[in-house]
């Protein structure tokens, strides 16, 4: 009974689909989260009667053969890299990226990570860091007596120190040829991979780079309604596959009950 295995691949794929959907829903309120999608592809086919094989000596051909498929698999779970909504937070170290680009982050193990999450904080030594305390590259140090931090659309960070306005640093963005090829490692962080290509750093506002917006955060691009309707569809598809297994089982038992 091939049907048992085929339905099992269907159930397995739908299980993965539900896992992807539930991760999207769980991250609905995660800053800078990009939703994922499960892409399905059919498995290989077995030709029982090949199309175009000869059926008689006078040269007649089989117009349509018998092809039996062997099920389905998840071929990829790409991220949908559309822009999330920008929410105003009124926090002067919150920045949202509008358009292309990632913030470059120095990870504690020396690696370089990338993130869209611009909810930055100031560490004890004045360095601009992420929520986990990882420094933003290039480093920007805010003096202890700085007031009124301002980030321009082009990423220039300024503050009032004493009586003078002072430029503290420049926020840079990194873009990739294939953003979907970045490897997610959790904590809103991504790593560069062979598939994503090497990152190219530039200033916000440069051609093909996005701009940054102070006092805002980028919300997740998860749309609750479409995730829920996907969830319902996945659940029904799962049920239908299990129905096939039951039918195959009934047929097997009808066979084995023959005496």
């Amino acid at each position: 009974m091939r049907a048992l295995n085929i339905a099992a691949t269907g159930m397995l794929a739908q299980e993965t689909n539900v896992a992807v959907i539930s991760n999207n829903i769980a991250n609905m309120r995660t800053t800078g989260y990009k939703r994922q999608r499960a892409d399905f592809a059919d498995l290989y086919y077995q030709n029982l009667t090949r199309v175009g094989s000869q059926t008689s000596d006078s040269g007649t051909l089989v117009p349509a053969g018998v092809q039996l498929g062997s099920g389905v698999r998840i071929v990829a779970t790409p991220r949908v890299m559309s822009q999330g909504e920008l929410e105003r937070t009124d926090n002067d170290t919150d920045i949202a990226i509008r358009g292309e680009g990632y913030l470059r982050i120095e990870l504690p193990n020396g690696q370089v990570g990338y993130t869209r999450d611009g909810s930055l904080e100031i560490a004890a030594d004045g360095t601009l860091v992420t929520q986990e305390g990882f420094a933003v590259v290039p480093r920007i140090v805010v003096p202890a007596d700085a007031r009124d931090i301002a980030v321009s659309e082009q990423g220039a960070v300024q503050a009032r120190v004493g009586d003078t306005s002072q430029v503290l640093g420049q926020i840079q963005l990194t873009t990739f040829v294939n953003k979907a090829g970045l490897e997610a490692i959790g904590d809103n962080l991504f790593l560069e991979t062979e598939a994503s290509g090497a990152g190219r750093a530039g200033n916000p506002g440069d051609p093909s780079y996005g701009t940054v917006l102070q006092f805002h955060l980028e919300a997740a691009n998860v749309v609750a309604v479409s995730e829920l309707s996907n969830l319902i569809a996945a659940q029904r598809a799962y049920e239908m596959n299990s129905r096939i297994i039951r039918a195959a089982d009934e047929m097997l038992s009808a066979t084995s009950n023959m005496t």
């Binding site: 399905f40 592809a41 030709n47 029982l48 018998v66 498929g69 071929v75 990829a76 598809a237």
Partner: protein, 250 residues
Amino acid sequence: MENASLVGLSRQVVLRRDLDIIANNVANLDTPGFRGEALLFDDFLMPVARDPDFARPADQRIDFVLDAGSSHDFAPGAITQTGNPLDVALQGDAWFVVDANGEERYTRAGNFTVDAGGRLVTAGGLPVMSEGGPISFGPGETDVTITPEGTVSSSAGVKGRLRLAAFDDNRVLSRIGDNLFAASNDAAPIAPAGNVRIVQGALEQSNVDGVIEMTRLIAVTRAYEQLSRLLQSQDELRDRAIGRLGRLQG
């Protein structure tokens, strides 16, 4: 006497294959651009098997069931919005052309992405062909737009036009997995005729209808059970015949 069992058996073998095809359709309910399949039954006149039990005409030939072929349903699937700029759906009778190691393959699944070299590829990583070869994007190019006619452009200008193929008869296509179709008998694609449109930010779903597959499933299981019963009663008949005819007088 044996023929009833053999005819029943031929039908059961075919029903099992039918179940396999239904299972594959249902497993691919969510596969983009998937085309459902149905088994075609045929009767097969056995040239030598004859049943002398029929009264008149004395020599009746026996019909067996045969699965002559499986047909693909080339009806379009539903188109859903995804909002992803590299998702494209085809409206009308045409196929996207994909390069699989130098050979042309055809697909309706428009869930394309970009690979590390910037080429436009399918979800399985095969380059999508334009009228002038694969389409590639340079680093930092944004705002990919695809017009209804298939012209792909980005912030760096026009990149090319997606190649579309059509066939006089879609039945020359056979499935090879990974959402791809191959043309058999060296059938050459022709330019798509009529109203073919490309919709960006949308994806064509599988054309499998869950309800229809479920009703087919019920029909198959019931027919199978019925045949099992038929074979069983045939067996009982034989059993009784042996018991009665073999009884010795006395």
